[in-house]
């Protein structure tokens, strides 16, 4: 296993910067996720580590050794591609066994040993029954697991996995995610993992790098990224429904900091939150404005007024979940979600009914505005 270190890595396609000065280290035995929306440069980073894409500038090191000029086959990595890249003329067995036969690694396995290893990883991923089939006779989900098995069959210095479970249905995705985590902890593997799915990033990783337009927006443990998002961009990328973002005026009332949203509602902001609000307040059209963030879980809704800071909005929609209910409200240009923990079947809020909304003052974030607020884009 190896440590992978990127130092100021940049990738230009013509004049377009796909990756812009990224520095990050994936420690030996670490599960590092590169997480971000489509087009952020995630796959490009993975391909540069693999040696499939050239680096425009910067350095990549494996255990301290610069690998910039090493061709892919000289870097001891295994990669799973989102597009599977299976050999269409080979049976599943031969596809999975392929990396074991590569002369560069000189494994020279006995056929029985090769079969044992292929069978072991195939059974582990639930595709043991498919070994004699050709890729064209597989579903998308099966192909994806074959591609993953091929990447995991060998013990390279680094595993590079690009959205390896993105095309599985929900049930299989969760179970395969658990298997991947089990695999990683069993072999202490160094894994760089690309995903756009926050659930995978949170569940699997030791650390997460959040990528935005080719640059690192935040780097931290899953807990850090979830509990202390550095920007509105990171906050909104995590959670379903995502973190609510609300723009308002940063006002002062009777000497107290106040967050005012038009004539709809106002909130007193106290203690360190007031400081946080001041720090991000900007003047727009002569008015001091700030952006508030709060997760749906940290909002209480009720029919009776719960406290002086609560405000009322009419219900836009009620959506159930297994253990909770999501109540949606409409604000100018955006939706606002509150999740209440409830026994299944017990939510009876009606569309249009006014409800009281109470934000947990300890769970409020303030951010500079870096993303367009409207989801209605």
């Amino acid at each position: 296993m190896a440590e992978v270190k990127l130092e100021s890595v940049t990738k230009l396609y013509g004049r377009k910067k796909a990756v812009d000065g990224v520095s990050v280290t994936c420690k030996e035995g670490e599960f590092l996720s590169i997480f971000g929306p489509t087009g952020a440069g995630k796959s490009t980073i993975l391909k540069m580590i693999a040696g499939i894409e050239e680096i425009t500038s910067g350095t990549i090191r494996f255990n301290g050794r610069v690998v910039n000029d090493l061709p892919p086959q000289e870097r001891n990595v295994s990669m799973a591609f989102e597009s599977y890249n299976l050999y269409p003329h080979m049976k599943v067995y031969d596809n999975v066994a392929f990396p074991l036969r590569a002369p560069r690694w000189g494994l020279r396995l006995e056929p029985a040993e090769e079969r044992r290893r292929v069978k072991e990883i195939a059974d582990f991923l639930g595709i043991g029954e498919l070994l004699e089939r050709l890729p064209q006779h597989l579903s998308g989900g099966q192909k994806q697991r074959v591609s993953l098995a091929r990447a995991l069959v060998r013990r390279p210095e680094v595993y590079l996995l690009d959205e390896p479970i993105a095309h599985l249905d929900a049930r299989l995705k969760f179970s395969t995610q658990s298997l991947l985590k089990e695999f990683a902890s069993k072999y202490g593997s160094t894994i760089v993992y690309v995903t756009h799915d926050y659930r995978e990033a949170l569940a699997l990783s030791h650390r997460i790098v959040v990528l935005r337009r080719g640059t690192i927006e935040q780097e931290g443990t899953p807990e850090e990224v979830f509990h202390t998002p550095r920007t509105d961009f990171v906050g909104r990328l995590i959670g379903e429904p995502p973190m609510n973002l609300i723009d308002g005026d940063a006002a002062t009332r009777d000497g107290e900091a106040w967050f005012q949203v038009g004539d709809r509602f106002g909130l007193p902001i106290r203690g360190p939150r007031a400081e946080a609000m001041r720090a991000v307040t900007r003047t727009e059209q002569g008015k001091p404005v700030a952006r508030l963030g709060i997760r749906p879980e940290n909002i209480r809704v009720s029919r009776a007024r719960p406290g002086p800071a609560a405000f009322q909005l009419p219900v836009y929609a009620v959506v159930q979940e297994a253990q909770s209910t999501v109540v949606t409200f409409e604000l100018p240009g955006t939706f606002f979600y509150a999740r209440t923990r409830q026994e299944i079947g017990s939510a009876d809020y009606r569309v249009g009914e006014p409800l009281w909304i109470d934000l947990d003052p300890e769970k409020i974030f303030f951010f500079p505005r870096t993303v367009a607020l409207s989801t209605k884009a």
Partner: protein, 369 residues
């Protein structure tokens, strides 16, 4: 807006004599939001296509408000279809796309304009009315498709294809919009999906299809607490219900063989008088308490093997003590901060226990609340 009855409907495809749907009977109530849920190949698409009139009904009857519609084509049934299978007309503007179903029914120009403006406002489509579908983002196209489906009140609104492939932000928004439109319009809506979370989130009731047959129809609450069989029990809920071999000790207690000297769990509910001793116990991951000390009734001693952080929750994978080493999933609040290798005691409330004999439930449980 109507009541739709499926009466012993069959779909048999002549090629290879494949049974698509077998003796399907259920009623879609007026103004109800019904989800048709099941794994692929279970009969969802055949059912949807027969409802829409895109597929002939081999045997049985389909009735809209008491009138049999078997022989009516899609247009004559007065239904609206949305999502992928009915793409937008690329050469028509957004306005014309939404107006299409109205014009097709001979609505006057002024009334069409009024209706289109009304739904466009509801879905924030006003600035897009003069644009063409090709120039719209995915989420915008989705909203145009919804507008077209909900611009009038058909007998039945059919929503095909899951929204589970959208990004998490759009998905939350589209779910809210669909639910809002359904209630505003008082439509009778059928939503077809393989994604149980999608079905749970949107529907009033759901139909579960598997192997061409109806498995259960009921509210989310009924399906969650009283699954009709083992398939339904494990299909709805994520992570899925834990199922372990168990043996009835008496009418209120089961033991788990080879789990820490036969751990005993007491259960509540009406036990089937004919139940045999060998059963399967079902426990939902969401209904398990995690204790750090022994000494409390109804617990299973376990070791934590894996932690999957989910933000608000963490999913634990644990194995039971004793030779059996069963694996269970448990959903806990993330603030619990468990650790891999830690010894824990899973606490199962007597009212949270399901029992099955083969595929069949043998414990009738009370509905919560």
């Amino acid at each position: 807006m109507s009541q739709v009855e499926l009466r012993s409907m069959w779909k048999i495809y002549p090629r290879g004599n494949v049974v698509g749907v077998k003796d399907l009977s259920f009623t879609i109530r007026n103004e109800e939001f019904l989800a048709i849920l099941g794994p692929s190949g279970g009969g969802k698409s055949s059912t949807l296509r027969m409802l829409a009139g895109l597929e002939e009904i081999t045997r049985g009857e389909l009735a809209f408000d008491g009138t049999v519609v078997n022989h009516l084509g899609p247009a004559e049934r007065n239904i609206a279809l949305a999502f992928e299978s009915y793409a937008l007309y690329q050469r028509l503007s957004v306005y014309e796309n939404i107006a299409f179903p109205l014009r097709a029914r001979g609505m006057k120009q002024a009334a069409v304009a009024q209706k289109v403006r009304w739904i466009a406002e509801l879905l924030d489509l006003e600035p897009l009315l003069d644009k063409y579908p090709g120039s719209l983002a995915g989420g915008q196209q989705q909203r145009v498709s919804l507008a077209r489906a909900f611009v009038r009140q058909p007998k039945l609104t059919l929503l095909d294809e899951p929204i589970s492939h959208m990004d998490q932000r759009l998905r939350a928004e589209v779910r809210a919009r669909i639910r809002h439109l359904h209630e505003e319009m008082h439509n009778t809506t059928v939503y077809v999906t393989h994604d149980q979370a999608e079905a749970v989130s949107l529907c009033d009731r759901m139909v579960i299809l598997h192997q061409a047959q109806l498995q259960q129809i009921g509210t989310v609450e009924e399906i969650w607490h009283r699954p009709a069989n083992r398939f339904v029990a494990s299909f709805v809920g994520e992570p899925a219900m834990n199922l372990l071999p168990a043996r009835l000790r008496d009418r209120t207690t089961v033991v788990l063989p080879e789990v820490d000297h036969e751990s005993a769990l007491s259960f509540r509910g009406e036990l089937d008088p004919g139940a045999h001793a060998e059963v399967t116990i079902g426990i939902r991951p969401q209904e398990i308490g995690v204790l750090r000390a022994a000494g409390v009734a109804n617990t299973l001693p376990c070791i934590v093997r894996l932690l999957e952080f989910q933000g608000e929750n963490t999913i634990l994978t644990v194995t039971t003590d004793g030779p059996a080493q069963h694996t269970l999933k448990v959903a806990v609040a993330a603030s619990e901060a468990n650790a891999v290798g830690e010894r824990v005691f899973l606490q199962v409330r007597p009212e949270s226990i399901h029992l099955f004999e083969g595929d069949r439930p043998v414990l009738r449980r009370a509905l919560a609340g």
